[in-house]
Each structure stands twice: as structure tokens, then as C-alpha cells.
């Protein structure tokens, strides 16, 4: 979290305004910044939209006197999203956030036509005209949880419940595998696809199928505690991937990481207040101002493993460790990334192959 005090910030803002007198701020002097956020689903108590909501809550707390947030939730229809973004903008909201990839296409169309407001889309692909995007390096979180899984498993079989075979899920599970193999070369990872982001019934079935195949640590793309609860029932470990579900999964959650979008919201609002906002693409993982945060670990996790994870985290933040550094082989054992090289960000973002040791195929349409 950024620790600039409000007074310090005001000084800085005043100085910037004096210096950059020629920039084009969308706000008049002393005007409150009105921020609009459109959630596709209900905010509820946990899950994707909940973490999105935590971000604007943090934004409100950061600028209690300068920022006013209008929130619309449960806007499930894409037709409606476009209209409401436009309406919020014409009502004087100068910074607008879309919470999912599904907003991306309509925001790309809309943002250039409403130059008086600025747009930000979570999980968008690339920055566009008047549209910034931000996404988390999920793989930095899954690499660390993979270390815990690799140390904890007794059967040397891990399980992954896959939502959709999109690159974001693929690089997450690959990094989970690489993290596990970094401490336990005998580990394999079995994957079951449910073809849904949220489908409690299918997720439960998937967990049962993985347990039946011998998996004793289960991770996946949940956003809900369902998989953790199912794993707990089967007496195997679960991992809170993209969310800390220890409040629900009280015994069976081994480790967890959370997505924290506060920095994206706060930085964008600060830039709009300063009149310095430009469309950028932010892809961040662990570390200060990052979007991935390690959260609670089970008391049963040995201190040595926790220390191992902490060391890996420090190395990732310092830039000395990259989960996708070569040599990396695919499932067939063919080298994909040569020793001494590292995958580029674009290569990771477009990843469509599974690393060696992952068992299961990508569903083909």
C-alpha cells in the first residue's frame, strides 16, 4: 500500500498542477472526483466481485474528501453495461471501472467517444484509446502455493480444477506445477475442466474426481469456497487460489493468496485528480503496490515450508526468480523455453501449452 499522507499528496498535487499547467485535467479546481464502478455480478461476501469492491472501498478510504464512488452491481446484461457506462460518464463521473473481461469489448468502443471521462477495465487485454487495463500475475501466487503443495503432498499427486482453458488459467496452473516441482521433482498435477467460472455442482464433482485419482492437495480457479469445502469433506488439503477462504474452509485450507486491486483504483484516481492520467496496461504480481497478496496459512504448515515460500516471494519481488525461466518442457517432454532464457510477458499472457508433469488435456471446443 502506498503510504503518502493526504497532506503530502495535496502538496504534491498542487505542485504538479503548477508545473503541468498545460495538461488537460478533466476536473475543475477543487471539484470532487466522481468514480463509477459497474459490477457484472452481485458483490456478495467473497469471490471476484467482492475483491473488486474491496478496491473501491480502499479508494474511498484513501480519499474520503475528494472522491465519491457510485456503484452499480448485478448488471448481468452486456447491452446494459454499455448504456450505463455512458450514462455515468455523461452524469459527470470522470473515472469509470469495469470489473470483468466481459466489459472490455464495449469499453473499447465507448472510451474513445467519451473523452471527458477516463476508463479502466480489470482483466482487459491491452490499453486502448482512453482505456487503461489491469490484470494480476496470478502465476506468482500459484508458484508459491505450488511450493506448499509440493512439500505437503504424500501421494505426489496434486489436483487442479480448471475453469476455462484461457491463458490466464493455463499459466496459473503451469506455475503451480513449477512451484511444486521446484521442491519435489516427483510431483504430478491432474487437471479437470469444468467449463464454468462458477458452478458449485460441477466444482464438487471435479474435486471428487481428482481425489478418486489420488490427489491430496487441490487447487484451481475458484473465486468461491466451494472447492475448498469439498476438499475438506474428502479429507484432503485445499488451496485458496485468488481468495482467502479460511473463514469458510476452517481446517482444510493449506495456504492462500488474494487478488488486491486497491493500488489500481487508487493510482488511477490519483492520476485523474492530478490531471496526469494516461491509458496504461498494468500487469503486477507480488510486492508493494502489487495485485497479488499472500494471505493466511494453516497452522499445520511447517515453518520450514513457510520460510521456503517467503524466500521465493522475496526472490520474485527482487526479480531474481521468474517462475517461467527456462529450461521448460511441455507435456510431451519437448523443450519450449531454453535454459538461460525467460518467457516474455506477452508469451506468458498467451500461453496455451501445459508444462511437463501436468496430466490432462486442454478441452477443444
Amino acid at each position: 500500500m502506498n503510504n503518502i499522507s493526504r497532506r503530502g499528496f495535496m502538496k504534491g498535487a498542487a505542485a504538479t498542477t503548477l508545473l503541468a499547467g498545460t495538461s488537460l485535467p478533466v476536473l475543475a479546481q477543487g471539484e470532487k472526483l466522481r468514480v463509477g464502478v459497474i459490477h457484472m455480478g452481485a458483490i456478495s461476501d467473497t469471490g471476484w466481485e467482492y475483491f473488486q469492491a474491496q478496491a473501491w472501498r480502499a479508494l474511498q478510504a484513501e480519499f474520503p474528501d475528494q472522491v465519491e464512488v457510485t456503484v452499480l452491481e448485478n448488471i448481468a446484461q452486456i447491452q446494459d453495461g454499455e448504456r450505463l457506462f455512458r450514462q455515468l460518464a455523461t452524469q459527470g463521473h470522470r473515472l469509470l471501472f469495469g470489473t470483468t473481461f466481459s466489459h472490455y469489448a464495449s469499453l473499447r468502443k465507448l472510451a474513445p467517444t467519451l473523452p471527458n471521462s477516463h476508463f479502466e477495465c480489470c482483466a482487459g487485454i491491452e490499453a486502448g484509446d482512453n482505456l487503461g487495463v489491469f490484470e494480476a500475475k496470478h502465476h506468482e501466487g500459484t508458484y508459491l502455493t505450488g511450493i506448499a503443495a509440493g512439500r505437503t503432498t504424500k501421494s505426489n499427486i496434486l489436483g487442479w480444477v480448471g475453469a476455462f482453458p484461457v491463458p490466464q488459467v493455463i499459466y496459473s496452473l503451469n506455475a503451480f506445477m513449477l512451484g511444486a516441482r521446484s521442491v519435489n521433482p516427483d510431483v504430478v498435477l491432474k487437471v479437470v475442466w469444468v467449463n464454468a467460472w462458477v458452478d458449485p455442482a460441477k466444482e464438487r464433482d471435479a474435486v471428487a474426481a481428482l481425489v478418486a485419482q489420488g490427489a491430496d492437495v487441490i487447487s484451481g480457479s475458484p473465486n468461491t469456497p466451494v472447492q475448498g469445502l469439498a476438499a475438506e469433506e474428502h479429507g484432503v488439503w485445499a488451496i485458496g487460489s485468488t481468495g482467502d477462504f479460511s473463514a469458510y474452509v476452517q481446517r482444510g485450507q493449506l495456504v492462500s493468496f488474494e487478488l488486491d486491486w486497491s493500488a489500481a483504483h487508487i493510482e488511477a484516481a490519483r492520476a485523474v485528480l492530478d490531471g496526469t492520467w494516461t491509458p496504461t496496461a498494468r500487469w503486477r504480481g507480488l510486492g508493494p503496490g502489487g495485485f497479488v497478496k499472500m494471505t493466511t496459512a494453516s497452522p499445520e504448515l511447517p515453518a520450514s515450508v513457510a520460510a521456503e515460500m517467503a524466500a521465493a516471494e522475496a526472490a520474485i519481488v527482487a526479480g531474481t526468480l521468474n517462475p517461467f525461466a527456462g529450461p521448460l518442457k511441455n507435456q510431451a517432454g519437448v523443450e519450449q523455453v531454453a535454459a538461460g532464457t525467460t518467457m516474455t510477458e506477452d508469451e506468458i499472457k498467451g500461453m496455451t501449452w501445459l508444462v511437463e508433469g501436468v496430466q490432462g488435456t486442454l478441452p477443444t471446443g
Binding site: 452499480l72 454499455e82 473481461f101 484461457v166 491463458p167 471446443g365
Partner: protein
């Protein structure tokens, strides 16, 4: 007197709305004014009102043809989805060619798709006397699953990061915009033409009279030599065609892409629109606009009044409830009297 009941329903719904706003701690009158009129603030919003009203009016007019004859087609939602599938197939395969016939072909295909889906219940009704309410309703779920299958499978956009959505439709497959600076497209004109056509047919042609008589009294219709089967086929197919075209309007209009959730439930909402409009084409235009306004107001409720958007469903349901109640109370007089013991009734016989 019956013409009065939609107005009564609107008035009573407004009264309940005032109570709800007051209970939620808002100033009731200014909230109601905001709720109803702020979606009409500018040209863009007006266009939004029209593009939401167009499919509702179109489907409701189609359904009203059957409803007049006592043919209860509850399957407009599924028929709309079939319109999306058939029209979408044309758009995805021939849209990129840019040919000018793509759009008319999509409309035709959508109409065929909707009619095809409505033909099932019509056949089952005329052949086996199966209840068309149940068969048409159940086919809605089948249609939705077919669309999911296509969008998750063969139609998935290869550039869409595996998200369940089709490729964006080619410009040739999109409705032209009729009001600059809005999303209002020619779908609105299609809806109005349908209204005009159905008004002529229903009130100036024999077939309209036939349907009306069948609905009012089946034995009388039979005595006059009007075929009940014919009424079922006409009623179901008109509803299917209208819903299919409305489905094409969604993908060729505001969506411009095919999603598994192409319909925001217009097939169901149109049933309310049809009844609120007294099954009359002109009445349906007004009720369609009102219903569309309620959708937009639900967002206003969230945006500026801080109330949940579920309020839209609440008001829509209340409208229908009050209107049905008003109908009953206009047609029948309520008499309060002491309950007569069953035994006394028996004895009286």
C-alpha cells in the same frame, strides 16, 4: 370500463412505489419523479428507451395474436433464442462477405427459426391436445442449452481467449442506426411496421375476427365453421415469427456479437406487455414503452437513489398483479356474506 384497468394498475403501482421509497427513507415524490423521468433526460437515453421497447413490442404483438384466440404461447423466450441461432448462423457465415442481402436474410432466418420452435407446441396441441403452455415453456430451456452449446463450442471466437462469445458480427450484419449519436436502430421501425400490419389484420380482416371469436367462445367459433386448429397454428406461428425477429434484433443491434445470454428475458416480459396493452396493437406500443422505462428506471434506482435494481422486477410484477386484480373487480362484484354451511347447501338441493 375494462380499458381503465391498465391505468388503475399504473396508479396503484405508483402508490406502492411511493410507500417503498418512503420506507427506504427517500423523499417519495421527488424519488418517483426521478425514477420515472430521469431515463428520458437526453436523446441518447431516449434511443435506449426505444431499443429496449422495440423487441418487447414486437414479441408482445406477435403473442397477442395467439392470446386473443386463447392460445397460450409461453415460449417466446425460446423462440427468440432460435431467432438468435438461425439469424446468427447467417450473420457468421455470410456477414463477412458484406453483401447487402445479409441483413434481410438474417431477419428471414430468424423468423423461420422462431416459427420452427413454435411449430412443435402447435403440432402437439393440434395432434395430441397437449397443453401448449407446458410444451412451449419447456422448450425455452432446450433453446437456451442449444445456444450455450454453439457459443461454447463451434461458434466460439478464436480470438476471444476462450470466453463464451462469438466473433463480433460483421458490419453488414448489423442494423443501421437511425438516430445519430444513439444506439437506436431500424429494429424500432421493424417493430412499428409489425404493429401496423397486425392492427390491419386483426381488426380489418376475417382472420382477425375468427381468432377473436375463437378466444371468446370456442363452441361459437365451431358453430360458425372456424377451425380451432387453424387458430392454434396461426397463434403459435405468429408469436414464433415475431420472437425470432426480435432475437435477430438483439444480435444485430445492441449486442453485435452472440453471447449465451442473448436475451435479457424479453420473451417473458413481453407476456406482461401484451396483457398490459389489452392485447391491442396500439395498447401494446404504450405498454412496451412503459415496460422499457421500468427497465431503465431500475438502473436509476441503483445509480441515484441507492436502491437495489431488483426494484424493476418488483414494479413489473406489481403492474401485472394490479391489472389482473382490477380486471376481476371490474368484471365481478364482490359480495360479502356469511358462509353457508355445506350441509345446508346439500339440503337445498
Amino acid at each position: 370500463m375494462l380499458w381503465l384497468s391498465p391505468l388503475l394498475a399504473i396508479a396503484l403501482t405508483s402508490v406502492v412505489a411511493l410507500v417503498i421509497f418512503a420506507a427506504a427513507g427517500r423523499d417519495p415524490f421527488s424519488s418517483l419523479v426521478r425514477f420515472l423521468f430521469s431515463p428520458l433526460g437526453d436523446l441518447y437515453s431516449f434511443g435506449e428507451l426505444l431499443i429496449k421497447a422495440a423487441p418487447l413490442i414486437l414479441i408482445a404483438v406477435g403473442l397477442s395474436v395467439g392470446f386473443r384466440a386463447g392460445v397460450w404461447n409461453i415460449g417466446a423466450e425460446g423462440q427468440l433464442v432460435l431467432g438468435v441461432i438461425f439469424g446468427g448462423w447467417v450473420a457468421l457465415n455470410y456477414g463477412p462477405s458484406g453483401a447487402p442481402w445479409v441483413l434481410p436474410a438474417m431477419l428471414l432466418a430468424g423468423a423461420i427459426g422462431g416459427a420452427f420452435w413454435a411449430a412443435g407446441p402447435a403440432f402437439l396441441k393440434t395432434r395430441f391436445n397437449a397443453n401448449e403452455i407446458l410444451t412451449s415453456l419447456m422448450l425455452n430451456y432446450v433453446a437456451a442449452l442449444w445456444l450455450s452449446y454453439l457459443v461454447f463450442g463451434p461458434w466460439r471466437d478464436p480470438m476471444g481467449f476462450n470466453f463464451p462469445q462469438s466473433e463480433p458480427l460483421a458490419p453488414a450484419a448489423l442494423f443501421p442506426i437511425i438516430i445519430e449519436g444513439t444506439r437506436a436502430n431500424i429494429g424500432i421501425i421493424v417493430a412499428l411496421l409489425t404493429v401496423a400490419l397486425s392492427w390491419v389484420v386483426l381488426s380489418r380482416r376475417l382472420v382477425g375476427f375468427e381468432l377473436k371469436v375463437t378466444g371468446l367462445s370456442a363452441p361459437a367459433a365451431r358453430y360458425a365453421g372456424f377451425s380451432a386448429r387453424r387458430a392454434v397454428w396461426i397463434g403459435m406461428l405468429t408469436g414464433g415469427v415475431a420472437a425470432g425477429i426480435a432475437g435477430v434484433g438483439e444480435i444485430a443491434g445492441p449486442l453485435a456479437q452472440i453471447f449465451p445470454t442473448a436475451s435479457p428475458g424479453y420473451g417473458y416480459a413481453a407476456i406482461i406487455v401484451a396483457f398490459l396493452g389489452r392485447l391491442h396493437p396500439v395498447g401494446i406500443v404504450f405498454s412496451g414503452l412503459l415496460m422499457s422505462l421500468l427497465y431503465l428506471s431500475g438502473d436509476v434506482a441503483q445509480m441515484s437513489l441507492g436502491l437495489p435494481s431488483a426494484i424493476t422486477g418488483l414494479f413489473q410484477g406489481m403492474l401485472l398483479f394490479f391489472m389482473l386484480a382490477a380486471d376481476v373487480l371490474i368484471r365481478y362484484r364482490v359480495r360479502w356474506r356469511r358462509a353457508v354451511p355445506a350441509l345446508a347447501l346439500e339440503a337445498a338441493r
